[in-house]
Amino acid sequence: MSNQPANNRGATGKEPVAVVGIGQTHHVAARHDVSIAGLVREAAQRALSDAELTWADIDAVVIGKAPDFFEGLMMPELYLADALGAVGKPMMRVHTAGSVGGSTTLVASNLVASRVHRTVLTLAFEKQSESNAMWGLSLPVPFQQPLLAGAGGFFAPHVRAYMRRAGAPDTVGSLVAYKDRRNALKNPYAHLHEKDITLEKVQASPMLWDPVRYSETCPSSDGACAMVLTDRAGAARSPRPPAWMHGGAMRSEPTLFAGKDFVSPQAGKDCAADVYRQAGITDPRREIDAVEMYVPFSWYEPMWLENLGFAAEGEGWKLTESGATELDGDLPVNPSGGVLSTNPIGASGMIRFAEAALQVRGAAGEHQVDGARKALGHAYGGGSQFFSMWLVGAEPPTG
C-alpha cells in the first residue's frame, strides 16, 4: 500500500485533490440482475477503469448511502468490504440523509487533502428495489411529526410557500421537469428516458402532492456512483484530464425550529458562501459554467438558484423561465437530467458531484456543456437541513 505511516508527514498546507476516475451504473427501477455487492462493484470498476488504476492502487474506501432501512441491511459496509476491495484497508461509512453522496465525497477528499492517504475510492449507492423507500421514510415515531407519506409530502408545503413568496406562476415547475427529462435523453446512465416527453404531458400528469405533479417528481432508482480521488502526484499520472477540487463544504441546521426558513435555509446559503470563498468565486452567476443541483421535485431548481446565490431572492423562477438553465443556456442546470431523472437516493448527491467533475473534464458526452471550466455539485438532505457542495475546475487550484 502506498500510504505513508500516520506520523511521518512533514508537508504543511492542504494537498490539492483531483478526480481521476468516475464510474456509475446504468440506473433503473430494479436491478434484478445484480446483488447489492454486484451493483457497487460495477460502479467502482468503472471508476478504476477510467483512472486506469487497479484495486491495489486504492489506499482507503469511503462509502455512503441513505438510511439502512432502504435495503433492510444494517451497516452494509461490513458486508461490502470484499466487493469493494477494501479487505486490509480502511473503510468508512458516511450517512447524512439525502446529502450523503456529497458528504461522502468530501470525507474522502479530506483523507487526500490531509495527506493521510494518497488515493481514495469513494462510492455511494442505493438499491431501492430491495425494499420500499416510502415505508423506510414513514416509520411512526411517537411525539414527532411524521414525514407525511414520503418526502413529497414534507416538501410540497415549502414549494407552495416559495410560490407565494416569490410570486411565481404555477407553470415554472413543469418547465424544469421538461428540461431535465429532455437532458436525461442525452445521458446513457440516466434512469428515465422518456423519448416522447412534451411540456403538455408534464402538465397533464396527475397531481401527487399539490403543487408537485407526478412528472415533477424523482423516480426510485437502483444505482451506484464511484470516484477515485488522488493527490497531485496521482493526478500527474492520470491518463485523462483530472477535475480539480477548488472548494468543498458541509453545513447543517436543526430540522424544525421557529426561525427556520424552509424555502431558503441558512445552512444552504452558508455552505455555498464557504465553497465560493475557498474557490475564489465572487460572482457565481458569471464564473460558474455548469451546475449539478439536487432537485428531487422540480420547483427546487428556482428555489436553490436563489439559495446558492445565482439569483436574487424571488428571482430564481425568472432565471428558469428565461431558459438560462437549459443545456444551451448560459447557466446550464442539471445537464445530466438530474435527480428528477435518476434517484438512487444515497448516490444522488455523489452523482451531482461526479457529473460536475465530468463537465470540467470535458467528458460528459452528449450532455457536455461547451467549454465548461468550473462546475458546482450540490446536495441536500433531511428536512432541508444538511447541505454539501463542491466546486471543481479544469485547472488546478492556485495558491
Binding site: 500516520a6 447489492i36 432501512f69 444494517m74 470484499d82 480502511p90 450517512h95 447524512t96 426561525g259
Partner: protein
C-alpha cells in the same frame, strides 16, 4: 502533521433501560459536560461529527433528532458516520489535520433497550446467504471463542478471569453498568457463559478534540493523538482466521503503536474471548494495564462503546495515570473491523 489532542470526555451512566428518556435527552448531558469542561460554546466548535445507527433507533434519519440537541444554529459544519463514534472521531481528526478547523465535538449514542440487540445485529450480515439464518452476535462470538479454545490459545477458566478482572476494575467506574464481582453464570452459547458476554444497555459519549496550542489552552494535560488508523477484514467468517486479528495488528502498526511500549490499553472487546485475540494482535504484554475502566464487559452501549475507549484512555492521560495509551474500537461480527489510536501525554 498537526498535533491534535482529546481535551474533554464525558459519558452517561450506562443502564439496562432508559425508557424515561429519548436519545436526545440521553446525549444532552454529555454534550453539556464536555463543553463545560472546555468552556467552549457550540458556536466555538469548528467541526461536529457523530456516530449512531438507524437500526438501533428503529427509524430512518434518527441522527437528525440528536443534531437538534447540539443546537446547530447558526448552521454548523457537521457530519455523521453510521458507525461507532470512534470512526466519527477519526473523521474529525482528519478534518482537523486539513487545517479547516481547530476544534471538534464528537459524540455517539445507542439505545439497545427498545428491541432485541442480538436480533438487530444479525441484520449486519450478508443479506442473501447469512442474514436469513439469523445467527446472532453471541452465537458468532461463541464460534470465535471455541476456535480459540481449540487452538489452545485460552480456556474457560482464563476467560472467566478476564471477566472477573474487568468487572472488578469497573467497581471504580461510576458509569459502568456491571461493576464489581459477578458470577460467571450459565452457558449462554457454549463455550460462552453469561459472564463472558457484555451487558445490553443504553448510553452516550462525547469528546472534544483540539489542535496545537488550542488544546493546551483548553486542557492542562491534553491526550495527544500520535497516530490513528483503522482496517477492515473480509465479512465472511469462513475466510477468516477467527483466532487472529490481522486488521487490528495493521491498524496498530499504522498508528505507530509498536514504535514504543504503551502502559495502558482500552480495548473494545465485548466478549472475554476477544480480549485474548486483541492482546495477541496488539502485542500487549502482562505489564500493560488493560481496560482499567472495566471495558465493554462492564458497559457496552452499541455505537458508543468504541468512542468511550478513546475517551477513557484520554482521561487516564489527563489524570496523569498514563503517559502512552492505546485505544481500540471494533465493529462487525468477530472483530471484522478495528480502529487503533495511540495517545500520549507530555512529560509532567
Amino acid at each position: 502533521m498537526r498535533d491534535i489532542a482529546i481535551v474533554a470526555f464525558a459519558q452517561s451512566d450506562h443502564l439496562r433501560r432508559t425508557d424515561e428518556c429519548s436519545e436526545v435527552e440521553m446525549v444532552m448531558p454529555v454534550l453539556h459536560s464536555v463543553l463545560a469542561q472546555t468552556g467552549l460554546k457550540t458556536s466555538d466548535i469548528g467541526f461536529t461529527c457523530s456516530g449512531s445507527s438507524d437500526y438501533l433507533a428503529g427509524r430512518a434519519f434518527s441522527f437528525t433528532m440528536t443534531l437538534d440537541g447540539v443546537g446547530a444554529w447558526p448552521p454548523i459544519s457537521e457530519s455523521h458516520v453510521e458507525m461507532d463514534g470512534a470512526w466519527a472521531l477519526y473523521e474529525a481528526w482528519v478534518k482537523l489535520l486539513t487545517g479547516e478547523a481547530d476544534t471538534a465535538l464528537v459524540y455517539s449514542y445507542g439505545k439497545s433497550s427498545p428491541g432485541s440487540v442480538r436480533d438487530v445485529l444479525t441484520r449486519q450480515l450478508d443479506p442473501y446467504y447469512v442474514a436469513p439464518l439469523w445467527p446472532d452476535s453471541v452465537a458468532l462470538a461463541a464460534l470465535q471463542a471455541q476456535a480459540l479454545i481449540d487452538a489452545g490459545e485460552t480456556d474457560e477458566p482464563a476467560l472467566a478471569g478476564v471477566a472477573t478482572r474487568s468487572r472488578g476494575d469497573a467497581a471504580d467506574n461510576p458509569h459502568a453498568q456491571l461493576p464489581g464481582a459477578r458470577p460467571q453464570g450459565d452457558y449462554l452459547v457454549r463455550p460462552l457463559r453469561t459472564g463472558d458476554c457484555p451487558p445490553i444497555g443504553d448510553g452516550a459519549v462525547a469528546v472534544v478534540l483540539a489542535a496545537g496550542d488550542r488544546a493546551r489552552d483548553l486542557c492542562e494535560r491534553p491526550a495527544w493523538i500520535r497516530g490513528m488508523d483503522h482496517r477492515i477484514e473480509a465479512h465472511s467468517l469462513g475466510v477468516r482466521d477467527l483466532t487472529d486479528s490481522p486488521s487490528a495488528r495493521l491498524a496498530a502498526e499504522r498508528a505507530g503503536a509498536f514504535e514504543r511500549p504503551v502502559d495502558t490499553a482500552e480495548l473494545h472487546a465485548p466478549f472475554t474471548s476477544q480480549e485474548v485475540v486483541l492482546r495477541k494482535a496488539l502485542r500487549l504484554g502482562d505489564d500493560v494495564r488493560v481496560n482499567p475502566s472495566g471495558g465493554a464487559l462492564a458497559a457496552n452501549p452499541v455505537m458508543a462503546a468504541g468512542l468511550i475507549r478513546l475517551g477513557e484512555a484520554a482521561a487516564r492521560i489527563q489524570r496523569g495515570e498514563s503517559d502512552r495509551a492505546l485505544a481500540h474500537a471494533t465493529s462487525g461480527p468477530c472483530l471484522q473491523q478495528n480502529l487503533v489510536a495511540v495517545l500520549e501525554g507530555e512529560a509532567q
